[in-house]
Symmetry: C2
DNA sequence: GTCTATAAGGTGATAGAC
DNA sequence: GTCTATCACCTTATAGAC
């Protein structure tokens, strides 16, 4: 699945062939079929694995801060260290979204995970409203979808162009500035190390 | 090119075949080769066309407002009416970015256009600094890349899930709220109608 | 400028030996 | 569980009639 993630994050689904993935994993294409019944199944298993692992980190980060700002800063901080080892595949994340829209049946588990992501961001938005940083009449769902899109798709797109550690830290700090109005250090995360 | 844009915005490059595009345009696959020498060339021509048209609208929108907030609001307002007719292809935009990263030589014209987009957003950021809404030590380039990513990739991803006119208006208003702190009506644009 | 027919090349998946 | 060999299918692109 790691080899698949690497390949699927560098080219679109149809352009990645089983030989490429197998080579990355040190075997031949046919051997993959001892572990996954099809290319589709490998893609879905990999995407679900990545999404599940990152969901746990997302939940912990959001719960870690006393204010919505610090919680959100902790979410952004995940990308600096790639805490889970599965956060640096933004193009794979986009590919999953595209295929999910095209084929909702095959991606029912992914759709459930996506709803959990949105729920996490909805919690963040609710806290921002309670703390007086967003008006009470904001649509919690739309604001949550947007925050999630800003982080995973927007920031992800920028990180595709700028990949050095220094640049990623700058991207994260600037995103925090644009979205929360300040660069708040993600203290709880740092204590984890 | 319109037919190609429709198809390329609904599935990834390799999953769209020439017959699909031709059918959308009312011909057979072979006929396309009287207009474009290859599938790649058709994709690039379509992407460049879309990008150029939207760049003109982006420039006008950014220049239209007295403050950076109103300029940015005008940019967001473009998506409500799809002023150019070429703004509702967010998945095509993402696909272009992926292929551009993979094959920089073939996309040299697109890379030039992308730099012009960034320059437009850099102007917006500079004005925000001058107006005291962003600190002077912000990286103009990174902030501009992020704003662009938030709008085209972040908001685009949300619009892929919510496509009704009402939802798009709500997405745009909420994005304005999250990124500028207020929902500012894009007056100059409205006067254009 | 569009069509039908087809060549040429690549890929997912399977069979069967080890 | 991995390999080699191969099948079956699909797609881009071209040839040549109209």
């Amino acid at each position: 699945m790691r080899a698949a993630a690497v390949q699927f994050s560098q080219a679109e689904f149809s352009e990645v062939n089983m030989e490429d993935i197998a080579a990355e994993a040190g075997m031949t294409g046919a051997a993959i079929y001892n572990h996954f019944p099809s290319k589709d199944a490998l893609f879905i298993a990999t995407a679900n694995h990545m999404t599940q692992i990152n969901l746990v980190a997302l939940k912990r980060a959001i719960e870690s801060g006393p204010t919505w700002r610090s919680g959100f800063a902790a979410v952004l901080a995940l990308f600096v260290d790639d805490t889970t080892g599965w956060l640096r595949y933004p193009l794979l994340t986009s590919a999953v979204q595209l295929k999910m829209l095209q084929n909702r049946e095959k991606f029912d588990e992914m759709l459930g995970l996506r709803r959990e992501y949105v729920a996490q961001f909805e919690g963040l938005v609710s806290r921002a409203v309670a703390e007086g940083d967003l008006p009470a009449d904001v649509s919690t769902n739309v604001a949550a979808e947007l925050l999630m899109g800003f982080v995973f798709n927007g920031m992800g797109a920028v990180m595709s162009h700028m990949r050095s550690e220094r640049e990623i830290r700058q991207i994260v700090d600037t995103a925090s500035l644009l979205l929360t109005g300040s660069v708040e250090p993600a203290l709880p995360n740092k204590l984890d190390r």
